[in-house]
Symmetry: D2
Subunit: 390 residues, 4 copies
């Protein structure tokens, strides 16, 4: 018998069988989420890491051992078909999301799908349709915008909902990395349009568009965009070079339904910026600011205070009454990147047990996809203001 198996537990809570497709960076992060969630939070179901799937039999078996999955599959259809898989967790590149997700939903499984939801709006629409049909059968489909689940971002959303910002005027967001600054950094699937859909736009821009719409509580109605690929040929690991067919960077401005202005910048060539997802909202009663490189902090300015003592305060989002903190450590003992996946697992388990609508839903993922599509259209048309389809 296999020590990785996690059958129904002694305390009688039923298991929720998880099957994961893909086991690279995202797969490792999701594994930490599934492994930990029930150890920290009081969950109605206990996630059982029953099977992981990849195309290379040896590699997937090694990954299963390393990451703690009981079984290894080499065909995602076989994974979906397993009786001990209740949730299909999709951690593959974007070009396979739609096919796997729709098949899983049709097979009666719950689905968690990494972002961006798909590589095209059409795929995303088909996924939403499948999710809606499945929803009527009680299935849950969630998009993996994990950054919503940093405690600071969840607290920011709570502050916006409470009206602490008043009417929104500005939102500005950047997501900057630098791993493509070096012109000799090699070609990967992330630099090919056919596999990744887009470059910094879909990889990083998708996150900040989702956070923007989540925090603001409203959608973008139109955008004006410019994109660029600075390094157009990159070396292949096998020798020679290949053409980069995605953007290195994407900049866009936009408008929310309320009339608030927004700006976005996603880049993988911003030297020295490692994971600089920064987002700021300015309302007529207050402002919020966040930097993922300091993810345990939220900066808040209350504009209704007397000016003599007003200023951005640095809230360490580690208090027991902060989102997700009930299960963790004492104040000031910060969390890390992977905790967002623990929280994601927690929330998905609760949604499944309670039958409630998940957030972010596939429809939320589609809303992001439509913004990305409008960005690409605007960039292709010389920045012209391009409405986001509704």
């Amino acid at each position: 018998m296999d020590d990785n198996a996690q059958d129904p537990t002694p305390d009688g809570r039923p298991a929720l069988g998880i099957g994961m497709v893909g086991y690279a960076f995202m797969g490792a992060a999701h594994s930490q989420g599934w492994r930990t969630a029930a150890r920290v939070f009081d969950l109605p179901l206990r996630p059982a890491m029953n099977a992981v799937c990849g195309r290379d039999a040896g590699a997937v078996r090694a990954a299963a051992d390393r990451l703690g999955w009981a079984a290894a599959e080499t065909d995602w259809r076989a994974l979906i078909a397993r009786d001990d898989v209740d949730v299909v967790d999709i951690c593959t590149p974007g070009d396979s999301h739609a096919e796997i997700a729709i098949a899983a939903l049709e097979a009666g499984k719950h689905v968690l799908c990494e972002k961006p939801l798909a590589n095209t709006v059409e795929e995303a629409e088909a996924m939403v349709a499948a999710a809606e049909t499945a929803r009527s059968r009680g299935q849950i489909a969630m998009t993996g915008f994990n950054y919503r689940r940093t405690p600071a971002m969840a607290l920011a959303r709570r502050f916006v909902e409470e009206g602490r910002l008043g009417r929104l005027r500005h939102l500005r967001a950047t997501y900057l990395q630098d791993w493509l600054v070096d012109a000799e950094a090699p070609m990967t699937w992330r630099l090919r349009k056919e596999s990744a859909g887009s470059g910094a736009l879909g990889d990083l821009g998708a996150h900040i568009v989702d956070l923007a719409q989540y925090l603001a509580g409203e959608t973008l109605t139109g955008v004006s965009a410019v994109t660029e690929t600075f390094v157009r040929q990159r070396p292949l690991p096998s020798g020679g070079t290949a053409e980069v067919t995605v953007d290195d960077a994407a900049l866009f401005t936009g408008r929310f339904a309320s009339g608030a202005l927004a700006s976005f910048e996603a880049s993988r060539v911003a030297a020295g910026r490692k994971n600089a997802l920064r987002i700021e909202l300015n309302g007529d009663r207050g402002s919020l600011s966040f930097d993922l490189e300091r993810l345990n902090e939220l900066s808040f300015h209350d504009h209704t205070e007397p000016s003599v003592a007003a200023g951005f305060r640095r809230i360490l989002v580690t208090e027991p009454d902060h989102p997700y903190l009930e299960g963790w450590w004492p104040p000031g003992h910060g969390l890390g990147y992977e905790h967002t996946f623990v929280h994601q697992a927690r929330d998905l388990v609760h949604a499944i047990a309670a039958g409630t609508d998940p957030t972010p839903s596939f429809a939320d993922g589609l809303r992001v996809q439509r913004v990305l599509a409008a960005v690409e259209e605007s960039a292709a048309k010389n920045c012209v203001y391009t409405p986001v389809s509704a």
Copy 2:
């Protein structure tokens, strides 16, 4: 005789007579510059604060006493005509810049003109033409983009020139203030198109466009822009309300001649941001970052260093070998906002004494004006990419 007079000094350096038009916020700041420059720096000429001009005789006399000007005039033509005025320093709203500057140049005077250089490209072009004619007669005409003269920005320019950033990929700049968040903040000349030309765009955006072009060492070739006025009616001090005819905020993206991407945001409704001029440049060998609210600091990332010890370093720009620091205090004893005007006075005096071309010149001011005009055109045309006229 008047104690404010500053005649030729005992050490024999000739005086340089200054005449200033306008005595409000900018006039007070310029006065500090003229008063202090020769006390801190070794100058070939000693500025003499000989006359200040304003329309209200009582008010200008009181301002002269307060700010330390020997004489007060109520007609700027009379100021220009004075024999003891060698330099005309224009601190009025933008709608009068062209007329005063051109008259002063035609009268053989050197001119320092506050930014933005003018309210329209046409005015700015006429000013440049007048400056060029005057230049052939040995006169100097400088635009008052004072932020170039924070030591940190001058050091940043030096670093770019030395190639420490390599090829530029990104520049992003914001200039955020919040004094118009309150919908009850009253109407002023700064909120009327006919006097101010534009709103946050000309007031704040002009600064970041100039800094961007100065630091990058190249000009913007095109922009895509959106502007907004959130509060469209404001109370008049006299009762009733008036229509705000300028922007509260302007956002734009752009391209440099080299292909580098740029983004800009100017706003006077960003709650909690008091004077947040922030600018960052990312090149393929390094990056720079600056925040005017911490003006004695420059953040620099050297991307050629081994990653184990790389990171943005906080340079306290207060060392003796930093720009403008030869005359000031020991390391760590920071400067303030008004020191930029002392440095401006220093540099103008040197340019006049040596007969060298001033920077920023009127032509530099025109280059900014052309960007602002393209921004306004793009905003009026739904963000369409609009070339900057050359």
Copy 3:
């Protein structure tokens, strides 16, 4: 059969049976460490969470289920006696450390003991003696100073070893929390001398003394100290009040063997400081600075650089070539508090498999204990300089 069991794994690596005593805050943190280490790092042995021990049968059973331990014991002697327990991990209050650790070592088990190693120097000496005897039999005994294992602190130690700081002049360290600011915060075992040994001194001061000696690579030779208890009576949960018999705060200065000066402050009444372990070292070639509330960052100043570009640089300690980062996420994707326990588990497993001396050893723990004892003696004697016994 029990799903918590972790028998020898399919890939054939032998299991290392862990038995943990105590399951409160520290027990939860250690559990995360044991659960995760082999999933992230390539370990020669796979930790098996075989048994946890506590006095209350129901509570320990619930904790076992929650935290993922296969069996629950109510007598620590029974836990030690288990064949499937190779390592005894002691997470109890300090007054029981010596008895449990010595018994475990005598029973042939490896031991990981939480800090402070003991409540008195005498107990710690007995533990070191037991560890030395056991060491000759191949057993490992480690003290749980987990903060050495933040990547930033491990990197700092590397920099010191490489000579990047030159001769040490200053070290200053504070560890500030605020959970006792409120005079109504209730009495706990941490506020009683008989259970906790001391207050902020042993709880927080022990950490910064260990880090100081670890980073400096030398021991403190003497100290001068003052301690204070500001709130002397606290409410009992059962009603009434009890006397606080430990310090709220301890401040001390000290000297290292090299002559460098050190200062320390530990407090649990520093309003607004949640987990502010801050440490700075100044040498004649460079300086280092760290703040546990931003644990993914290390600040480094290279004093050999030209002053024009020198400054404290913020190193994001998340690069692949940084300590402990080989198993984690891409650059900029930060870690949290509990990761120190994953690293502790990793290092202990390696030490056991290789038979190498562990760090921090019990002897290191004793060195800290001797400093704490000297602090208490100095505080009792009006701050007089008190040598640390060697």
Copy 4:
């Protein structure tokens, strides 16, 4: 006639004649203060920079021209005797403070004396006695602890007075510089006990002791101290070396009358710290934190706020209702180091015009001197707790 003279002004406000002794770093800073105060603030008297004094006739004449003093004297007794000198401003090394100040007071002049007030308690006591006698004749004597007059420190004092911190528990202060890190930095008067009194202790420690007592609103009752001289021989400009007879660094702990604990560190060998005067106060209702390298900011934590939104807020101390800001620039347009001298001049002029007691008085300066003496005594006696004489 001399253009530096500043006779009674046209608006009729009487002049206040200033005579300054010493014209090096402090003299330059004070000159900026005298020159600017009446240009920014509405003062009842207009400071007239009538005479400066130094021993070298040529050098003092050049300094007078450069710094803007009407006359130059080479004998401080002659300066005191001048009819046009109402205020004697002493900017010399500490060993001459007592003699000059007492002579000036006996001659009926107001006195501003740089810190530390004297090199010994005995001298300081004599100065206080002279000041008290002079006070009865209406004269003012002020000690130049200029950092009280950063707006942020004045605001901090206001917050303490308003009870925003509650009962004080902790104060910690460091003042770190690095200009003596280099063992080859040359010998100066600041490194000789006979001229400077002490080293980092009197130069830097005096500032933080004064700020501590000012902010806390109470005096230190005892201290425990250690001092060190790391580099004991330094090169003479003339060749050869000389012995350093003052401390490079001084660390001490102390108690306030209220029982609050305090710690202090002054050093001139803290590599990378240029002017790091940092001070933090923790009370049971709130905390304050300040860093002179970011002197326009005050950090404030309100501990009475709900934890969900609590945190240290960064107050930009540049609002119109902040101390000293009525005369300066709009919000966010920061001040620099020398502005403290402008504020000092302002406050001294007001005290003279109104006949009110100045702060900090000579008695405040003596209170600091007594702490410094206790520090030296404690350091000489192995850190023993040494009461501060009352």
